[in-house]
């Protein structure tokens, strides 16, 4: 009897990094210093997928080539790596000018059984601001690593605090730094919207954050806001347990007026704050939004030379859901293939699939969860293309299939070798307008 063919688990053209990629989560915390406790090359590789080949984002303070690393070598594999790690940490305190040091342990030291936890605890007891997180690549991808690192910082650095809550103060858990090409711009737009609605927003990553001060402020917030289908949920659950802090989970990142306005109203209602300021802000933003919407309507209504009708999309759950919702529900583009490629944990998949099924009144999407790029490209290739030019919202790995079907191409996922991205967003009121510019610029570029 023929052997039962097992489901392929290999990956071609990967669309994420591994857990040690969370060094980029740490470097995105202002003045935090990651210490990559792993082989030489591990941190460098993840930086390529997450920053270089992902919009050429550059690096924060102690990111990129500045990341201290134990660079585990043959000697450490044979005799243990604790000693080398200790001298690396000790030197890092003196050489690297940081406020918080986070040791991330990768595959090799995990496998040889180095007791990193004990080393880091010893330093912490001496008064050093240092945290340890498990980030072995065989335990998961960079999204898993991100959650692991954030939770480690909360447990080991923010610590057990009893404090009054500040009404209207929100901890915002949205994009994964660097992994989301637009993370900087996305946090800025979400902050702008929430502040416009009357909230104070505690941002933990990037230029909108105050670094460790923001992290120490976490327990003070009235609640945690998770704007993502699944990444960050386990963080919010930890915070609920630890600081008796409720959380609001909004799986669909808001893109465009309809979704953003609903988003604001939901957050206001959850917080129980007065809605006057929020409604005034909504009114002003809505007016501006439709001012531009009206202008692009001329183009959409009478451009002779071909507009896209169908879209094919593949990226992480957060981006795919947010952008699909906007295009299918508000712009009226037809979903031809919708793929989530971030290895969403099984327990979250049903709820996410349900969001896609209810994407719009008259439209339902059967989302597929696929990580292997070869399979994704094949699915794209075999999609129903209809008459018009297809619009691909995907990664730079997908260029072959885009060329084959003479498609329009807007990079939205990791990796992204085709754009230099600094401060850009496709979400909220303003980001949606930028996304429309981007899509229809591709149309006129031909």
């Amino acid at each position: 009897m023929a052997e039962k063919k097992k489901k392929a688990t290999s990956i071609t053209h990967a669309r994420y990094a591994c857990a040690i990629g969370a060094v980029n989560t740490v470097s995105a915390i202002r003045r935090a210093i990651p210490i990559a406790n792993c082989g030489p090359g591990c941190a460098d590789k993840q930086f390529i997928t997450m920053s270089f080949s992902n919009g050429f984002q550059g690096a924060d303070f102690a990111g990129g080539g500045a990341v201290p690393s134990s660079n585990t070598g043959e000697n450490e594999i044979v005799f243990g790596g604790v000693k080398k790690l200790e001298t690396t940490i000790k030197s890092a305190f003196k050489i690297m000018d940081g406020d918080l040091y986070v040791v991330l342990t990768g595959c090799a030291p995990s496998l040889i059984g180095d007791d990193v936890e004990a080393v880091v605890r010893r330093f912490r007891k001496q008064g050093y601001p240092i945290v340890h997180a498990d980030a072995a690549g065989f335990r998961g991808n960079n999204l898993v690593g991100h959650e692991s690192v954030v939770k480690a910082i909360i447990e080991q650095y923010v610590g057990d605090v009893k404090t009054e809550k500040t009404k209207g103060l929100i901890n915002l858990w949205a994009d994964v730094p660097y992994f989301d090409t637009n993370w900087k711009g996305n946090y800025s737009e979400l902050k702008r919207i929430l502040e416009g609605a009357g909230f104070k927003v505690n941002i933990l990553f990037g230029i909108e954050s105050e670094g460790v001060k923001s992290w120490k402020k976490i327990p003070k917030a009235q609640f945690n806001l998770v704007v993502s289908p699944w990444v960050g949920l386990s963080i919010a659950e930890l915070l609920q347990e630890k600081y008796d802090q409720p959380f609001l989970h909004i799986p669909v990142v808001p893109v465009g007026e309809k979704e953003t306005t609903a988003f604001i109203r939901r957050v206001v209602e959850f917080a129980g704050i007065d809605n006057k300021k929020a409604e005034k802000f909504i009114q002003k933003e809505t007016e501006q939004y439709y001012y531009y919407y009206e202008h692009i309507s001329e183009f959409i209504s009478e451009y002779w030379f071909g507009l896209p009708a169908r879209f094919l999309i593949a990226a992480d759950a957060q981006t795919t859901l947010g952008i699909s919702k906007f295009l299918a529900d508000q712009i009226g583009l037809i979903p031809a293939k919708v793929i989530v490629s971030d290895n969403t944990p099984l327990k979250y998949r049903d709820a996410i699939a349900e969001e896609f099924r209810n994407i719009s009144d008259d439209t339902s999407i059967d989302v597929q969860f696929i990580e292997d790029g070869y399979t994704i490209e094949k699915e794209f290739d075999e999609a129903d293309y209809g008459y018009g030019k297809p619009l691909f919202l995907a990664t730079s790995w997908d260029l072959d299939v885009v060329r084959k079907h003479k498609g329009l191409f807007v990079p939205i996922g990791t990796p992204n070798n085709f754009e230099v991205v600094l401060n850009r967003t496709y979400i909220g009121y303003r980001g949606a307008i930028t996304l429309l510019e981007k899509i229809y610029s591709e149309v006129v570029r031909g």
């Binding site: 071609t12 990094a17 001298t87 030197s91 595959c107 790995w397």
Partner: protein, 529 residues
Amino acid sequence: MAAKRIDLNLPTVESRELRLGSIISWNGSTEELLKESNYEGRSEKKKGCCGSKGEGCKLCELNLPFSQQTMCCHAIIETQVTNITDCVLVEHSPIGCSARLPRINITYNQTLARRGKEPQMIRVLSTNLQENDMVFGATAKLERTVREAYERYSPKAIFISLACTTAIIGEDIISAANELQDELGIPVIPLECEGFRSKHWSTGFDIAQHAVLRSIVRKNPKKRQNDLINIFALYGSDYFTPLLKPLGLRVNYIIDGASYDEIAQASEAVATTTFCHTLGSYFAAALEEHFNVPQIHSPMPYGFKGTDAWLREIAKVTGKEDIIEDYIRSEHERVLPRINELREQLKGMKGYVATGSAYAHAIIEVIRELGVQVDGSLVFHHDPVYDSGDPKENSLKHLTETYGDIPDYTVSKTQQFQLFGLLKRVSPDFIIIRHNAIAPVSIRMGIPSLPMGDEHMAVGYDGMIRVGEAILEILSRRKFAKTLKEHVKLPYTEWWLSQDDPFIIAKHPEIIEEAPDRFTKKTKKRSVK
């Protein structure tokens, strides 16, 4: 008969530190390093460095207690074997080991364009190992993935790479490759390139070359192609064709961008040479020793002296001695006027070179030809000898004897924290770099960088002109760099930035204890000076 230096019967090649005595941490002048390297003495030994554990010829290396993230030999083999147009790589590792591929895909497609070939995404499958695999082993997954690679792409050969994890848990990729080779009827080639295997990534080049020599290069070729010359290269533009066509030679670029057959025919070529001894020496020496394809034993083709000597050696090996002197003379005459203009335009400029080892020697030669002052340079490792052991390939000697000493010469593996002090000491107007992690510090210090992405740019007589023009363009970017410098802060403490010697923590590790401690009250009061 002398024992062969290279043993192609071994399934894998020894690391550079074992084979050549390579080091990654050193500081001094090139004259001192030349003396300490003792190229000739070392080359007489059977295996480069001491056969036994004798300390006699071990290069003194500075042992740093602190390091920053860098590169591994696994990343290097990716840059090699994924760039063969009709082969596939299966990476036997967790997914993170594949995370450099999006960048490698950029260089691959650039190479294809430069070789006049169709664009194509690199073809790599990861076995995508999980925690369970670490416990129970993953050979079944490997076999399945190799078959999948075969079915999907019908490649001419499949490479399998080992990684830190799979080496630690003892995955036997050699046996698996042998069995799959029998099953599939194409070469299935194991690469033992786990990241911790060597302290320097360049061992990865040797691992890829060793594998290709054992499994792809045609053994006992029936014919010779007397006009074909192997150029061991990376991704560089085709500047070798215009340089060698007047001698009636066609170039065969290996490995990047080549097809299986182009690599296989390497044993039919009339000679082998390279743009960089660090990169190409193992392949060239092995082809000479095992396939009777002569290696061009000469300095590398940079600057007037190097290019002259290299061309003369090629002419000698290929029987073109009758025309070579006229060719060299006319080339000098052709390029000299523009080079003299560039020398005038670059007068007073100071440059710094931070690249791979022998390549740095080459680039310094070129910019010194252009009259640029070079007081310091950084290489990512140093090989005291190359595999052939031939003193004519002693590139450090050629540099130092032809163009003079480099007083502040540093071996450091892309360590940003050291670069600050090094650049402060020589304050150059620009820096020439390869590899990531170096230029970001330089530009934050107000020094613009020229990334030598097209590594053939500096080759030959025209190379001097190309580099000179590029430097003039880069100098204009000082505006950007100087503005940046005024608005950024480096992630290093004042204490560290005030150190004059970037190797102080290797020479006096106790200084770490004595440095100001911002977090505890443990700081010793003794002066740190």
